[in-house]
């Protein structure tokens, strides 16, 4: 199992004094961020491979890593982007144009502060964790609209406007889906939400809150501007949307932000609906069995499922038309969540499912 304790003990011997605690946290944050960026790097490779297989192609297969064809592709891409020149258009708003990529990336990484990786390890065990998550996800849109506006280009601006309207619309559905989770868990603390699901796969919330899980995941697809909701980029209509004028590492920052957001939405789907770090064998195997232990292993393994679904959906569905996106968000997803909130009220009244101990 993946534990922080040995690393922390080793570091606390190295660093002592007044600043020990902040420094130690900073080192842990740095390690976690590097891990997330590495996962993101291989996720881009996985995306190209998986979509390649779905479309009967091979995907990247030229750059070997440890004998696996194509495995070093993300690093090749990174080196290519690092050596490219960053071009700032003459008529762009210089300050905002440079600021926008950071505004996209920082909220994406800041979200991980409240995500519990295992029962022991979470950076900020705050009571209003769920609210913090919602607040931070809604911050990500600033990077996109500022990038689109500051570039002073019509295509970029169109992409930014589409993205802003889309994200504001789907945030409501996402918020309502999380209200459902909150009703079941009766806590805003993310760790408590996971703990309230303990007792085997059937007491995870995917079973009782299944419509909300789908709404959450679809809203997550829309919030990360992924296919079939990728009108903000819309290669065939507006070239690359909001980041059309970005090059080199400035573009890479948007790219990293998008993929980190995808991983975050996957991790959150697992935390809210698939039992987070709880073991699927809990209740079926004796408690002292290794497989029945909760831990980071299960969290990581389960997160791969929504992550794969992101790629699967992208390879399967054609892009929505803009009015269809708005219709789905406002007229389909929001009513579904509202009806299910009512159903949850009834379930709580009759004390079934997550409410049986009420």
């Amino acid at each position: 199992m993946w534990q922080w304790a040995p690393i922390r003990d080793w570091l606390s011997q190295l660093i002592t004094g007044y600043w020990a605690n902040p420094l130690l946290t900073a080192v842990q944050v740095l390690i976690t961020m590097i891990c997330i960026i590495l996962v993101m790097a291989f996720y881009t490779l996985a995306e190209r491979k998986v979509i390649g297989w779905i479309q009967s192609r091979r995907g990247p297969n030229r750059v070997d890593l440890l004998g696996i064809p194509g495995a070093a592709q993300p690093f090749a891409d990174v080196f290519k982007l690092i050596f490219k020149e960053i071009i700032v258009p003459t008529d762009a708003n210089q300050f905002l144009f440079r600021l926008a990529p950071f505004l996209a990336l920082i909220p994406a990484l800041a979200l991980w502060a409240v995500i519990p990786f295992s029962p022991e390890h979470v950076f900020a065990n705050v009571d209003a964790g769920l609210l913090y998550l919602l607040a931070m996800t809604s911050m990500g849109v600033y990077g996109i609209i500022l990038a689109g506006w500051a570039a002073n280009s019509k295509y970029a601006f169109l992409g930014a406007m589409r993205s802003a309207a889309q994200i504001v619309a789907y945030e409501i559905a996402m918020g309502f889906a999380l209200v459902g989770v909150l009703m079941a868990a009766r806590s805003l603390n993310i760790g408590e939400i996971v703990r309230s699901q303990s007792g085997g796969p059937l007491s995870w919330y995917w079973f009782w809150l299944m419509p909300l899980m789908f709404v959450y995941f679809i809203a997550g697809l829309a919030e990360t501007n992924r296919a079939p909701f990728d009108v903000a980029e819309g290669e065939s209509e507006i070239v690359a949307g909001f980041h059309v004028d970005y090059s080199g590492m400035a573009f890479a920052l948007f790219f990293i932000a998008e993929y980190v957001n995808m991983i975050t939405v996957s991790a959150l789907t697992v935390i809210f609906f698939l039992g987070g770090w709880l073991s699927p064998f809990q209740g079926y195997l004796p408690d002292d069995n290794l497989l029945a232990q909760p831990g980071f292993f299960w969290f990581g393994l389960k997160t791969l499922l929504p992550m794969f679904t992101f790629l699967w959906v992208r390879a399967t569905f054609p892009r929505y038309r803009y009015d269809q996106i708005m219709r789905l968000g406002w007229k389909a997803l929001i009513p579904v969540t509202l009806v299910w909130l009512l159903a949850e009220g009834l379930m709580a009244w009759f004390k079934v499912g997550p409410w049986k101990h009420l």
Binding site: D127, A128, L131, A135, S138, V141, L146, I167, D323
Partner: protein, 200 residues
């Protein structure tokens, strides 16, 4: 001590950003500085242990209201010089409003009138561990009717806003999705029975 230093740092930034909102030449910059203001006030609320209010401020104002605000400001083609021309004539009104607000604040904070007594107690009350729960409890028990009344007023206002701005013009190419979904094969497709071509 540390909290006090933080308060003054964020307070200074807040005042600077607020001045920037008024003085910035570009309306988009003004809107962004207003975002900074909201963020800064949220941090100051966090310093007062009001975590629910702080995060909700960011969630609602920064996450939704200001995004739509920016949306509109970016689309508007405003001539800033024209806007600035009439600015001087509003000074008396601005001074009057600012004067009233300062008067009210002095009354509440320094002289402790106008509900100042309640304010004095507020800091000494030990807040429960989760102030979201505490707020919820109060809002749904003691203030249940006012809260519902406020919700109804907001709903009516948003419906009214939609009704007032909804215009449908003739000849727009709007798709009726219900009709599209309800279509049957017979409506679109005509099966014709015809004799096959004879082989020669």
């Amino acid at each position: 001590m540390f909290a006090t230093i933080l308060f003054y740092v964020f307070g200074t930034v807040l005042i600077g950003a607020a001045l920037g909102v008024v003085l910035a030449r570009n309306p988009v910059h003004s809107a962004l500085l207003l975002v900074l203001c909201f963020f800064d006030s949220a941090v100051i609320w966090l310093l007062l242990d009001a975590e629910f209010l702080a995060i909700t401020l960011v969630l609602v104002y920064v996450g939704a209201v200001m995004v739509l605000f920016l949306f509109v400001v970016m689309m508007l083609d405003v001539n800033i010089e024209e806007l600035r021309r009439g600015l001087a004539s509003y000074w008396p009104l601005a001074v009057a409003v600012a004067g009233f607000v300062i008067f009210a604040m002095i009354n509440v904070i320094v002289l402790r009138k106008l509900g100042g007594a309640a304010l004095a107690d507020a800091t000494s009350v030990a807040l429960p561990a989760s102030n979201t729960r505490a707020l919820g409890t109060v809002l749904f028990t003691r203030y249940a009717y006012p809260a519902q009344l406020a919700a109804a007023v907001l709903l009516v206002a948003s419906v009214a806003a939609i009704v007032l701005t909804l215009r449908s013009r003739k000849g727009r190419k709007h798709l009726d999705v219900a009709a599209q979904v309800a279509v049957r094969p017979q409506d679109r497709l005509r099966m014709i029975k015809m004799p096959g071509e004879k082989r020669t």
